[in-house]
Symmetry: C2
């Protein structure tokens, strides 16, 4: 992995992925006790940053291989990113999803043109199903985070952050990134190392699913005890990736941890002050900016809102946290 791969991804994404703006609000600044710069990837195509990595990977395939189609495992945002990237390249996609994934996400993935194959988490082997389909149809697997082309795609958000913070005169700041397997976090860290070395990435995770924070502290890959049972589903993974962890270990500051309640409150602030719809996993970085001020350094902080694919029922819960 290196910066040239991210710059190459940025060239492939040009005109296809969205250059999301850098937003701010005096109300959020006051809540956080410093200037807060918001990078709203919930406004990216398919409602999350995942489209960047998916497009990066699909667009880099040689046309003959690509024409056979791609396959991915995902219960959520990666699924939609791969489905749309494949559809816009005019090639088939198969997404292997757990049968108990949210109906909306299954329907969206189908509506974006994917062939959705459901499996039973309890009784069926996802990897075996995927391998059989890939073999039979010559599909290329697009991994969700531990894949150089995907990391490079997510890193394009970091190139934009470097350029946009420079435009507003910010050269030193912590950059809080919602972190699951570390594809977005490591990609942004590599981009900032090259283009904005005064900006330091800090992964943010939900309480009890702090594998990256613990891994950064111990210096080796640590696992989560559970991989479900938290509203921040989009960023719950078993452990950091074999490719992403060494990058994060070399470049990132200490992790930050927030509660589900704090994530819900951050969603409400995004509603009220930014007019952005954030999902719980996409709001943990904003939650950390507001609730972990004493663990953050500097006068400015950059906050990634990584996704906005949230069901209406859960969204109503976040509104209920408002006074």
């Amino acid at each position: 992995m290196n910066i040239e791969m991210i710059r190459a991804a940025a060239r492939r994404l040009q005109g296809f992925a969205r250059r999301t703006p850098l937003l701010s609000s005096p109300f959020i600044d006051e809540l956080a006790g410093r200037r807060v710069w918001i990078k709203p990837e919930c406004l990216q195509h398919t409602g999350s940053f995942k489209f960047r990595g998916a497009w990066s990977a699909v667009s880099a395939l040689d046309p003959e291989t690509r024409a056979k189609g791609v396959i991915a495992f995902s219960s959520g945002n990666h699924a939609q990113g791969v489905a749309l990237a494949a559809a816009r390249h005019g090639v088939p996609s198969v997404i292997v999803m757990p049968a108990d994934a949210p109906t909306l996400k299954i329907e969206n993935t189908r509506a974006l043109g994917a062939d959705v194959v459901l499996y039973d988490r309890a009784t069926e082997d996802r990897d075996a199903i995927g391998a059989a389909l890939a073999d039979a149809r010559g599909l290329t697997m697009i991994k969700p985070f531990d894949e150089p082309l995907v990391i490079a795609g997510q890193g394009t958000a970091g190139l934009e952050i470097a350029a946009q913070t420079s435009e507003v005169g910010v050269t030193e700041a912590d950059v809080l990134v919602c972190c699951g397997g570390g594809g977005l976090t490591s990609g942004i860290a590599l981009a900032l190392e090259a283009d904005a070395p005064g900006l330091r990435v800090r992964p943010v995770e939900p309480e009890d699913f702090d594998d990256v924070t613990r891994s950064l502290r111990s210096g080796r890959i640590e696992r989560n005890l559970a991989t479900s049972g938290n509203i921040c589903d989009a960023i719950i993974t078993p452990q950091p990736g074999a490719l992403t962890f060494p990058i994060m270990h070399r470049l990132c500051g200490p992790g930050l941890i927030v509660t589900e309640r704090e994530a819900l409150q951050a969603m409400a602030h995004a509603f009220l002050r930014l007019k952005l719809v954030a999902e719980p996993g996409g709001a943990v970085a904003l939650a950390a900016a507001i609730c972990r001020q004493d663990q953050i350094e500097g006068e400015d902080v950059v906050v990634m809102i990584s996704g906005g694919n949230v069901d209406p029922d859960l969204y109503s819960q976040c509104l209920d946290t408002l006074p």
Copy 2:
């Protein structure tokens, strides 16, 4: 009013107002039966396009006059726009608001630095209160729409629409604009006349508050029977302005009318597909794109989402319209 005033406003707004992006979603395209390009002014500072006009007017005052401060009447978005524009110029602002305005909007306006003066709609004369304050303190009145500098500021959104549609290859389309007094509508119409003559503005209004639609049809200014009692409060005005109407009459296509229910459903689509928080009055143009397809021409349509300042309770109602 002419295009040079809008270009001058754009120069004054440069670096202070936000250049909002142009968004889209394949799901919205499908709902609307054509390609839909969204201009999300809910992402503008203070959560609505009103900051553009307010900044345009405040920044154009000569410094000595400006230093004495500004005054505005508003129960909502114009109040917040003027308050922030004044605060960022370091000058005082007085906002005369009805005592029964939403608490949140009163609090926001105060938090943005304004001196809020409340009056009783039933028993007190707003204009007399405003005139007395303006005289006593030498304040300059910033009118909400029927003021050339304000129209010029709102028109800067039109310059951006012209540039952004050109970038995506759209040269002919209806441009649906949420319309109250007509400041935004007439400003955009003037900008497009100059920079994108294939784009035609269509005002969109709530049912029973269709003064502009009727005025365009009859060729003279028509009044609404009521000026309250609709969830689209941000765009309810007694009648089109003396300055804005002739511009709209010369340049705009026929008005479009939507119901409150359709506005709520459009808010829900913006939530689900665009990850944007829209207020009812800010969602009527999207509602028209979806529900008045047969009254719109062409393969592409541009939709202004003009604001996102909505109370959580009302927002929950829009989520309830989802299946």
